[in-house]
Symmetry: C2
Subunit: 295 residues, 2 copies
Amino acid sequence: MTDFAAWTQGCQTRMESVLAEWLPPAHIAPQRLHEAMRYAVLGGGKRVRPLLAFAAGEVTGADTERVQHAAAAVELIHAYSLVHDDMPAMDDDALRRGKPTVHVEFDEATALLVGDALQSLAFDILASTPLADDAATQLNMVQLLAQAAGSRGMAGGQAIDLASVGKPLDLTELEFMHIHKTGALIRASVLLGAQCGSVPDATRTALDHYAKCIGLAFQVVDDVLDAEAPTATLGKTAGKDAANNKPTYVSLLGAARARELAQELRADAHAALDSLGTPAARLRQLADFVVERTF
Amino acid sequence: MTDFAAWTQGCQTRMESVLAEWLPPAHIAPQRLHEAMRYAVLGGGKRVRPLLAFAAGEVTGADTERVQHAAAAVELIHAYSLVHDDMPAMDDDALRRGKPTVHVEFDEATALLVGDALQSLAFDILASTPLADDAATQLNMVQLLAQAAGSRGMAGGQAIDLASVGKPLDLTELEFMHIHKTGALIRASVLLGAQCGSVPDATRTALDHYAKCIGLAFQVVDDVLDAEAPTATLGKTAGKDAANNKPTYVSLLGAARARELAQELRADAHAALDSLGTPAARLRQLADFVVERTF
């Protein structure tokens, strides 16, 4: 097995070129929209969701040539959500992945359309290439991504997040928000990657539990980093949650207990993979990566 | 054959209840988002796209129980585009279907998320119910809708529209914009409705040409109505195109020639249906309806 850093970089490089291929070229009309879509997606990001899809694909013996398209679809949903989330009506943020956000670099109307068109493109990808052993499974993948992105998934999580600003949430409510806001799409990443191969029920159950733990861990670590890491390291505005009076794991638990919780979730994630043996090695490493990252 | 008005009303009533069924109930979290989604979609609209889907389904012997879901998916894409289009960053409109627009009735962040979640729901619907004779055809329908909604379809048309404000477009450029902005989704309505049944190549070609004519006719008539009908009749702000210095068929051709063009497009649409015989009767009536409507 190549080492984790090399594997990660290989996946990221592959992802960049697959995304560059799917995104319409900037010289095709409407040029400015296509330029802005490429700006929003290419040249940055940890690509955590694609990494999870690739790693889950290894568990089910999925062909990487398939997984890369499912991964691209999930990443486009994530990218669209960042573009809309950064807009003045939402988080009003000027910096993302170390660059000006789309509405700052272009304009608000373009940012709105970029997000809309990226979402459409995600479903286009998921329907345009054979990704699963049969079309019925692939339709199921479309459904899974649509539900993960929608009002009872990611978009719903954003709505709960908005409604919570300045309100005292308890831990259960905070978890409910994050299971939707970040967790739904992380779960979709894992399951879509897996479904490019053959997924027995027990495997699906194990992956589902892994995804839940990793999704929450991801958010807990995000909150810790937002509270502690400098903007330059994050590539996005740090300290924003506190400034916006948003409830976070750090504000509810304190930084020390939040870091501990992340470790516990990592252990749970590892335990969920026990029955899957060696093919789940990358997923184990990703759990470590998610918890140990510093950006 | 029941008369056109009764058929139309029957379809609209069916559409309303199918949409009400697919939209998450307002008492489920996140409540405000779900309430706003229902507000954006239910209780109004001509439902032209669903009508086209139902009529096209009659040509291919499609089961109405299937067509209604495809029609709902298209209508949700249309509804989401209206919500985003009305926002301050785009057309900044306060009135839609005789009611305050979503960002006025709720707020901008909610309007953004409503549009996002409606788009996801459209793809959820298209993937969640058996709609075609086989899953491969249905995947094809997902692809068709995604491309019609995306940057080389509707969202792209919006971008071209934005870029054109205050610029002198010629007739070819105006047509290019509308083929994307309105035409792509109208074409999708017709083809998706048809694909719920069995579509020989020749039928598809005929329907495709019909859809192109009807899409342009729809826009030409929209421009005439915007220039001539009062706000109260339209249910949305009238005279807006001129106020925004937007190029329209009326500003380029004059109202008289624009009305003539609509008639020519109707004749073309009818001609496209010649080979399809009696089952295309509703599509013929819809061409008349689109051209003769006063709202």
